[in-house]
Amino acid sequence: MDDFTWGLVQIVGVHTILGLSAYVILLTGQVSMAQAGFVAIGAYVAGMLTVLAEWHIIPSMITGGLAAAVLACIVGFPALRVRGLMLVVATIAFGEFVRLFWFNFDYRIAKGDIIVGPEGGEGFKQIRFFPENGWTTQDVAAFIWIVAAIILATLWWMDRSRAGKVLRAVGEDEMAAQSVGINLTVVKVSAFTAGGFIAGIAGALYAHYTTHIEHLNFDILMATFAIAYPILGGLANVWGTLFAAIFIQVIVIEVLRDLGDVRNLMFGALIILVMNFLPRGLFSAQVVRKLREWTGLGKTSDA
């Protein structure tokens, strides 16, 4: 594989993690457009830790994830008092608040003969942990996919555990879930917090493979991509999100690059088509069941 393919593997990995951050929240029936905000928090916090404090990428990434998770938890309480469209509006507002915070955030220090750190609207440059520490494109891709695999495995395991069933119960019918003693607020805020943590991890990785971040990277388009992956792939299991991230990034973005603006139209058309004809996504429980029957891979999951 050449450098370009490894680079693409990195992008797909980060976008898979981004999609999974929205997947957890979507399981509870909530649509969060705040994911780009959480990604921004993870990106800036982790970037500052590796560049200004000279930490290693792993603790920086985890700290970035935790910072995003804490904020997601705090925001989760008031935001989850509203539902449906109002939640969408509230989370968009939060995402914009975070973006504009970084737009106005200026904290730079002298490091040798250069001044580094976030510089408001000018962005945060020289987040070069990977190249400066001898990580090749393959190393970075492998690292991203180890992180993605851990998150995929954790969510896959969670899906099959009681926690997953609780999340899905809330997502399917809140009243019924509440009537059997499930605390809706705890479940929803927990999903929001987990989604924030995963988005923060995605942000930390994003900042380090692009080496430069600015507020415009974390706009409504990124939030749309985050929820588009699980919507396209379906919520039956985590593999749908993975499939959608590969499909969008490899086919729509990369293979169809020469189509120019048509790519943007195709992305929108794809979402509309799937929502109309496959409202439960490309990998709905029915599709997964049929696939298992055809391939003879055993019984269906209870998803």
Binding site: D3, L8, E122, Q126, R128, T211, I213
Partner: protein, 398 residues
């Protein structure tokens, strides 16, 4: 019989001549271009691609590029759309670097250039730095001081700081009665923001103007009522707007509607393009912009005609791609690039070293000086909008 022999001999000579002047069929010098060809700033990429293809056509017609072993190679241009997105720009350059291209021209957006240059190796030859080792020669992304990020990054963009310093001094000298400046800035676009805060505002104050304030808007804004009202209230002599054609036209139309009075209007370098004249030539009438391109020399006119042939237009940004192509031709010939499948990485290094060694180059409206940071110091003129044309108002060199 004698006549027939003469004819055959003439034919053979003509054939030999054609062969020597023609491009070697099996040697190709791959030059990649990349920039925004979709989205609101798509005209940048469309124009750069048109200019690159026109320049390549001219180079190939003139016999191609002389390679290290004396043969001639044909220039092959490929162009990729990065949608003005950092992540896609990096991916596009990785794709280019994984292929046969020996150098790339681009990107068109500063917000792509900045992360992209960060992905490149910082110091050429530093084995401890695993950054990408691929030469980039930027034509459009103009935000100040970016080439110093990597020794593999070079730019042929004008020095805005110098241009606006000269412009404001000239305005003060020719209009001593003008006392104040009021600004308008497209706040969320890296280039326009940088140019207002780091260039226009500072250079205007240095020239002795009182900067009465500034109003802000965003790239996707379509309503400028409040900002223009503030602008009107300031009653400044000079209004200096740092924004791209899309919002510049919106602001100018609103200024006309609110009957804002001013004595002089100054615009951002990037707005000295056909997009501004297509969008609002009437409202932009008289706006003064410093630019490093105007069709004032035969070469500049040829670049404009070439771009038009490929459905683009030569302007401040895209015309630099023409210069880049000819600078690269000269560097490739001087450094002995081989353009063979097994010399791609060595060729890239030769081009990088060749570009780094340049002290001066030719340009469409005059000679260009090169700095050790990989930047250019280009000649410039002041143009103003008149009808559907940009006309030269003043040439500071004269």
């Amino acid at each position: 019989m004698k006549r027939q022999i003469m004819l055959v001999a003439a034919g053979a000579l003509a054939f030999t001549g054609t062969q020597s002047a023609a491009v070697s069929a099996d040697r190709e010098v791959h030059v990649a271009g990349f920039g925004a060809k979709s989205g609101v700033v798509r005209s940048f990429g469309v124009n750069t691609e048109a200019v690159m293809r026109a320049a390549a056509e001219k180079i190939n017609k003139e016999g191609g590029i002389k390679l290290g072993d004396g043969t001639k190679g044909k220039v092959v241009v490929t162009f990729y759309d990065d949608r003005c997105k950092a992540e896609e720009g990096i991916s596009v350059v990785r794709r280019i670097a994984s292929g046969k291209a020996v150098v790339a021209i681009g990107p068109t957006c500063s917000n792509v250039a900045e992360p992209l240059f960060g992905v490149l190796q910082k110091k050429a030859g530093d084995a401890s730095d695993t950054g990408l080792q691929f030469p980039i020669f930027t034509d459009t992304a103009i935000k100040g001081g970016l080439a110093k990020i990597s020794e593999w990054a070079f730019r042929n963009v004008p020095n805005e700081s110098q241009m606006y310093q000269s412009l404001f001094k000239w305005v003060k000298k020719t209009n001593p009665g003008f006392k104040s400046v009021f600004g308008g800035v497209e706040e969320d676009f890296a280039h326009s923001r940088f140019t207002w805060y780091q260039v226009m505002e500072k250079r205007a104050a240095e020239a002795g103007f009182e900067v009465k304030g500034r109003v802000k808007w965003l790239l996707n804004d379509t309503n400028f009522t409040t900002q223009v009202r503030q602008m009107k209230k300031a009653k400044a002599d000079v209004i200096s707007i740092s924004s791209h054609p899309f919002t510049l036209c919106g602001v100018l139309k609103e200024m006309k509607r609110q009957r804002v009075k001013y004595k002089m209007l100054i615009g951002l370098t990037s707005s000295s393009s056909m997009e501004t004249l297509r969008g609002c030539s009437r409202q932009a009438a008289g706006i003064i912009i410093p630019t490093s391109y105007a069709p004032v020399t035969p070469a500049a006119k040829e670049a404009a005609a070439g771009a038009a042939k490929y459905n683009g237009s030569a302007d401040l940004h895209s015309a630099a791609a023409w210069e880049n192509m000819f600078i690269l031709k000269s560097v490739i010939e001087k450094t002995g690039v081989m353009a063979k499948a097994d010399t791609v990485q060595a060729d890239r290094r030769k081009i990088r070293d060749g570009l780094a060694a340049l002290k001066s180059t030719g340009g469409l409206i005059g000679g260009i000086q090169r700095t050790k940071e990989g930047e250019a110091v280009k000649p410039y003129v002041y143009v103003h909008a008149q009808g559907k044309e940009w006309k030269i108002l003043h040439d500071p060199r004269k």
